[in-house]
Amino acid sequence: MSRGISLSLLVIVLFSLFGCSTVRDGGGPVPSFDVMQDLKALETEFSSAVAIKNVYEGGATIEKRDKMIAGRLVMMNLRYLQFIKSLNAERQFIDSASDVAILSLNIAGTALTPASTRTALSAISATLAGSKSAIDKHYYYEKTMPALIAAMNAQRKQVLLSILQGMGKPLEIYSVEQAITDLDSYYYAGTLFGAINAIQVTASAQEKNATEEIEGITRARISRLLSSQARTQNKKIGDAIEGLTDITKDLPKTQTLLSDLGLNGLSFKDLQAAKKQLRAILRERGHDETKIQDLFTIFKNNHLVN
């Protein structure tokens, strides 16, 4: 890596640390350098690693894919930091985004060669980490902006998680195409549209949960007195469920039982989860004499009651 490019990298970091804080404080000097040009220089440095055609040239490999991911993550993270600072973000959000940027710089430091690039990236990483304390927290911002930036940060971390989990894995498991799709999702997560979409999705899910909870409270089941036979059957079924304690012996039995009850028994890999499902079934069917009889028969066919 040339000295010029190293200097450019440093300038970007310095801007991200000090330039923005003064701008945000309203009235600091205009940076005496062109940030966009510096980012361009950085893109040139990473261009061969991040170019998709280079990943496929001569056959895709794990190393080439991971270099592409690492390079793109660094570029996206630096640009994202620049973007949220332009939104007058609060310090805590910048800190959170900085942490992710530092992480990606460290990953790039591992994935990219030559050594000079690694050294330069590590230097940026160290500077960025130290810079957070230098950011002044007194700036103006729109009241909605913190929520949107928080949503962007959260979404970006979620997507980043699947990218990091994919890196290092064989191409058959984490393909180059999947990596590119995830990187696109990572970019989208760091946009205001992505943040609004995430908030809408979260709000919808919360509303659905609350609605179900309200329905559960308001729509109570009417209790009917059971016959002594149904009561005894319920008790025997309960005893059988409590008796399932040996994971080696009882898990396969429970899986078969759940399949007989119309569920995908094999999807229950854990005996406790399987028992939880059986308890829920008993709670659901244990008020109706006919359903209790049917449930008892299934338990009996599986040699769990007599």
Binding site: A220, R221, S223, L225, N234, R279
Partner: protein, 95 residues
């Protein structure tokens, strides 16, 4: 711990209410408390709240009128109003 509700008829006797609560607790649940509600058809119900549990209660629940002597080996864990045989009464639950 998930909660759910069971509505018990306000026409039940106190023994029938105890039986209904015991039947419910046999389904891996634990009675928590109860309030009186009026259904859409204007019938009065005991709106009993239960918690879903991993095990069934070791001792069965017993509901008695407030002021009754606690059955041997039990202690009172809840008291409140229930409608019994169509009449509002103060009761206590023992276990």
């Amino acid at each position: 711990m998930s909660m759910y509700y069971i509505d018990i008829s306000g026409q039940f006797s106190i023994d029938q209410i105890t039986q209904a609560l015991q039947d419910e607790e046999n389904l891996f649940s634990e009675f928590k408390d109860s309030t009186v509600i009026t259904a859409d058809d204007l019938s009065v119900l005991n709106h009993a709240r239960f918690a879903e549990c991993d095990t069934r209660p070791i001792k069965p629940i017993i509901v008695l009128l407030e002021g009754s002597t606690a059955p041997a080996g039990t202690s009172r864990f809840w008291n409140g109003t229930m409608v019994i045989g169509g009449t509002s009464r103060t009761v206590a639950a023992f276990r």
